[in-house]
């Protein structure tokens, strides 16, 4: 492999990691409050469709982002209602959300744009385009720094937003009243209730944050990473984000690293088509599968231990 490709692969890794980062932060907030979120995938997919449709319709990437967030939020609230008010099975609700999103996106897309579920190609104004960081071009001729600039600069606004949200989430969870209560409600909702704090309200807040973050992730997929919506374009990223979250033991910073690693695996899969070790051609599928394989191995407890928030997935009832 050509070493000059390295900066490119790394930059691509970041691009691939962005939706994973946003979705695992969404999962982080939701699951830390005790609401299991299998529906990250569906929310992202619905948001990707909404973003592509709305930014085409309004000729604005920002309008797309806004509508994407609204749509994802609506689905998050359905999940919240089922999980919090109705005390339904959260996994079942998540599965339902995923199917609804996959179906509705194509059905509505087909109706509105008549391209078999695709949305029309978006022009640059309707997308979040790469931004060159100040000074990045100045480094273009300096050997090592040029590569560095290539990795760090030239991403879209949403990428920098996603990266900024990691420390913000970590800080908010650790240091704010909201974060303290949220972490508490995911571990022992009874303790929160008897402290005079509403369990339902906290969990709704968490679910709403998850909705917004998935909305941004979806918008990124269709209006930054690509230039239109195609069916099933979230391509399992929601589940990969979930895997990253498990890998990170439900913590923000480790989630970032895991997502970057998974992004790197995806990028390398794209760049290494047909790469060989001796006689053996490394299949592309190997890199695609690696995150899932790693998660299985982790869950089996062979490489460390991952402990979910104690109350996650359990509907809250006052009776003990």
């Amino acid at each position: 492999m050509d070493p000059s490709l390295i900066p490119e692969i790394l930059a691509s890794s970041i691009r691939m990691a962005v939706p994973l980062i946003l979705a695992s932060l969404a999962g982080l907030w939701s699951e830390r409050s005790g609401i299991v979120d299998i529906g990250l995938e569906g929310k992202m997919l619905a948001a990707a469709f909404a973003a592509a449709s709305a930014s085409f319709y309004f000729q604005s990437a920002w309008a797309g982002l806004f509508i994407a967030i609204l749509v994802s939020l609506a689905m998050a609230l359905v999940h919240g209602y089922a999980s919090i008010n109705q005390r339904g099975n959260q996994v079942v609700s998540g599965v339902a959300i995923n199917m609804l999103a996959a179906g509705l996106a194509v059905v509505l897309g087909n109706t509105w744009f008549k391209e078999g579920g695709r949305t029309p190609a978006l022009s640059e104004a309707m997308r979040f385009m790469p931004i060159d960081l100040p000074g990045a071009t100045a480094l273009a001729d300096i050997p090592v720094l040029a590569g560095l600039a290539k990795i760090v600069s030239g991403h879209s606004l949403l990428t920098y937003l996603a990266l900024a949200l990691v420390p913000l989430s970590a800080w908010a969870l650790a240091r704010t009243r909201f974060g303290l209560r949220l972490r508490a409600v995911g571990e022992n909702p009874h303790a929160v209730d008897t402290a005079g704090i509403s369990v339902a309200r906290l969990r709704y807040q968490a679910v709403i944050i998850a909705g917004v973050l998935c909305g941004i992730a979806g918008a990124y997929i269709s209006t930054s990473l690509s230039a239109s919506f195609v069916r099933d374009m979230s391509a399992g990223r929601g589940f990969m984000a979930l895997a990253a979250l498990i890998f990170a033991n439900w913590r923000a910073w480790p989630a970032l690293y895991t997502c970057l690693l998974f992004g790197f695996l995806q990028a390398i899969g794209n760049f290494m088509q047909g790469a060989r070790i001796g006689q053996f051609e490394i299949p592309v599928q190997f890199f695609n599968t690696l995150p899932y394989l790693m998660t299985v191995v982790l869950l089996a407890g062979f490489i460390g231990k991952s402990i979910p928030p104690r109350a996650s997935g359990i509907p809250y009832t006052k009776d003990r």
């Binding site: 299998i38 359905v78 209602y81 089922a82 999980s83 109705q86 005390r87 339904g88 099975n89 959260q90 996994v91 079942v92 609700s93 599965v95 339902a96 959300i97 995923n98 199917m99 609804l100 999103a101 996959a102 179906g103 509705l104 194509v106 059905v107 509505l108 087909n110 109706t111 078999g116 579920g117 069916r231 399992g236 589940f239 979930l242 895997a243 498990i246 299949p283 599928q285 190997f286 695609n288 599968t289 899932y292 394989l293 998660t295 299985v296 869950l299 089996a300 407890g301 979910p308 009776d319």
Partner: protein, 364 residues
């Protein structure tokens, strides 16, 4: 303290409420059709006619029923053991490998031998793909929901690789194996021809009897065998199971294997009975339909067969509908699936308080 969830007459609980939930799911689906700008009643008419108005319609309905019965039963058996197997899709897909390996390599054997072998191989490969997450859950405590999801993706990648690099004959463009000729299950049109009947073309084949047999077998297993008793005990009350000396790890692995074997039988229908070759994504989401079918059928084999027929109707009717009204994409069925899972699963109890207000008689 009080348990208001058990104070309704049984027929309300297991009859009326599920029907109400289903009705709401279908009404919401109708609203989506309205949003698209079509008339939902007209759409319903086209669907019913498409599925029930012709021999071909019926035969497709039962072809889908076959698939969904297998995957619905798969989800239900795991449910009874208290496990949520989301991996039916991957198990069915992986099972195709077993069907193909036997079907392509043992063609020298006569069909009465090679077909049963291929069926067993399908079940076995499906069982294996569910057994591994089962073992990981039982021995290592890995959450079955997550592992089975991961196994869906792993199966997908693995199958793409294998079909592309191992099964695809040299020089062929289409990503699929060569035709399976030995373990070839004739469809009813082909069977009819043998005895001189002329039937329209159909994917329906005798595998449907295997599906009904499987439904009976699951009923027998769960309610008429000691193993079934143990499965239901572990699912309903793990502590009581421990008290009774039931080996829970064994029950988890065994019921997952049975669940996977059932899902695996889907490839008997698809690979041996319809496509006669191993091809990409032949499970086509039927594994996920199984979740809706199991929820709707309340995890009882009779309910599952009926629910599988309803989804068969939706799939066949939906296909016809998408031809007649191109505005309504076939993916509308996926929407309905989602709505059914939402209203019959996660929002199962949403209408219960209203029903309780109607039927609850205050005591003193």
């Amino acid at each position: 303290m009080a348990a208001p969830r058990s104070e309704l007459p049984a027929w309300v609980d297991i009859g009326l409420i599920p029907l109400l939930n289903l009705a709401v799911a279908l009404i919401v689906a109708g609203l989506v059709v309205v949003i698209i700008g079509e008339n939902p009643l007209q759409a319903l008419g086209i669907m019913l006619n498409g599925a029930l108005g012709s021999f071909k319609g019926w035969s497709y309905l039962f072809y889908y029923t076959t698939n969904f019965t297998f995957t619905g039963l798969a989800v239900a058996v795991a449910f009874h053991a208290g496990l949520f197997n989301i991996g039916g899709e991957g198990q069915a897909y992986f099972a195709g490998l077993g069907a193909a390996i036997v079907g392509l390599n043992l063609e020298f054997l006569p069909w009465p031998i090679v077909i049963p072998l291929a069926v067993l191989a399908s079940a076995g490969f499906g069982a294996f793909w569910a057994w591994v997450p089962g073992v990981l859950q039982a021995k290592r405590g890995s959450h079955i929901v997550i592992t089975t999801i991961m196994f869906n993706f792993i199966a997908a990648s693995l199958m793409v690789y294998l079909i592309n690099n191992v099964f695809r004959p040299v020089g062929r463009m289409a990503v699929e194996s060569r035709e399976i000729t030995g373990a070839y299950i004739l469809n009813f049109r082909e069977l009819g021809r043998l005895i001189g009947w002329k039937l329209p073309s159909t994917p329906l084949n005798p595998t449907i009897f295997l599906a009904f047999l499987a439904a009976w077998g699951v009923w027998y297993l769960l309610w008429r065998t000691k193993l079934g008793y143990e499965i239901r005990t572990v699912g309903a009350n793990p502590e009581a199971a421990a008290y009774a000396g039931i080996d829970q790890a064994r029950i988890i692995t065994v019921s997952m294997a049975i669940s996977g074997a059932l899902a695996g039988l889907l490839s008997v229908n698809e690979v041996l009975g319809v496509q006669h070759r191993l091809l990409l994504e032949f499970a086509g989401g039927a594994g996920f339909v199984g979740i809706a079918v199991a929820l709707m059928g309340r995890s009882h084999p009779v309910g599952i067969v009926l629910a599988a027929m309803l989804f068969g109707l939706l799939y066949q009717g939906g296909t016809e509908l998408s031809f007649a009204r191109p505005l309504i994409s076939r993916d509308m069925i996926v929407v309905i699936q989602g709505l059914v899972i939402l209203f019959m699963g996660a929002l199962e109890y949403a209408f219960r308080p209203w029903m309780a207000a109607l039927f609850f008689k205050p005591e003193d």
